[in-house]
Amino acid sequence: MYYDALRQGLAAPICLTWELTYACNLLCVHCLSSSGKRAPDELDTTEAKRLLDEWAAMKVFYINVGGGEPMTRPDFFELMEYSIEQGIGVKFSTNGTLLDRRAARWIASTDYLDVQISVDGASPGVNDPIRGEGSFSRARTAMELLAAEGFPFKVNHVVTRRSFQGLDELHAMVTGMGGQLRVTRLRPSGRGKAVWEALKLTQAQNRELYDWLRAHPDVLTGDSFFHLSALGQPLDGLNMCGAGRIVCCVDPRGDVYACPFVLAPEFKAGNVRDSSFGEVWQGSPLFERLRGWEVGGQCRSCGAYDRCHGGCMAVKHFTGVDLDDPDPECVRKPEAGSTATLLPLALKPRAISPRAPAASRTVGSGPQP
């Protein structure tokens, strides 16, 4: 019913991702923003607060804060508190490595704040070759700290052909600790491009995943598997590409992109240092074009079009597929490439130091003990 209204764009995004920094103490092989190093020209605290002021005036309900590792920013706590004070709820994604007891208490005692911890396998053996040696153990500690505070955290899991068999185990682990599992789709964005062929789900796994998600309504997906809705009853969610329509991404430098999975010059709509965010959201030629566009080509004559709407623009873009062609993982297409589950990875993540780095604990307002 609201498909056309959403496709034509909203007064303000309902899913606004703010990549706060490209700095990260991990170097995950599939990082969609190729994070690792801080951009020297990232928005400073004053600029960041000005942006939050504008979002509040536009009635942005909440923001998804990510990175990089957002907790590496010295003003992380200050900015999150400022956002909430302005009436903008915060959902932030973290690798959990900097989340100590004090941070867990702050999270649990702050209203309108959600946290999701990234875990890409049910065991170190699956997770660590993707996210870095030691990262599973540190993420697990963060979960335990939040669980001890009685906080209903979320775990975000990018499901890959390596982790697929462990979905039940991960689901049991997270829910057993009082958390909620969120499963998201691997994209060939950023460093993900180099590992896409080795980690993307096989068609058999995609079909099984559809059934698994239908059988587990408590598992969140952030609407990222709408291409699988072509298999039958649509999955929960809007089942459409929201890029530039209901979704956008602001990067650490203030560049505004159509979605967090297309951090590419072709999908950059503007920069908040050159014009206001509202001007970019409402008037950028790129966003206007996306709001008038629907996937065409052979998808339009497919019986599943009303359920998947042609799939994910980002996956098409980074695999060199025309945007009017079907999603490379279209479930009505035959398998392409190997179906082996343990293909070698072209990249290696960075091992994490066994000691917790002190970043972000000593600077800024910080959480109160």
Binding site: A5, F61, G87
Partner: protein, 88 residues
Amino acid sequence: MKLSDRVRLDDAVALRPERFGALAYSYRDRQLFFVDHALLPFVESAGGHTLGEIAGDLEAAGKVTKEALPRLLTVLEGLRRRGVLHVL
């Protein structure tokens, strides 16, 4: 939900005007709700008038038909059950 009821939005719900009416967001359970133009006067009435009075005004202005009223009441009841609206 009855025509004699008065309703108000939950304190944890924010409304944002949109082309199709408004979006409502519940900070309590992080849910989004679509509110179309026909529904909006009821949702933002803040208990000032009964649902029947609002419906009467909308009918007189040609914005809502009598036939559409049962659907609107059903949607309002749904919003009440989800904690978005409260009956005063």
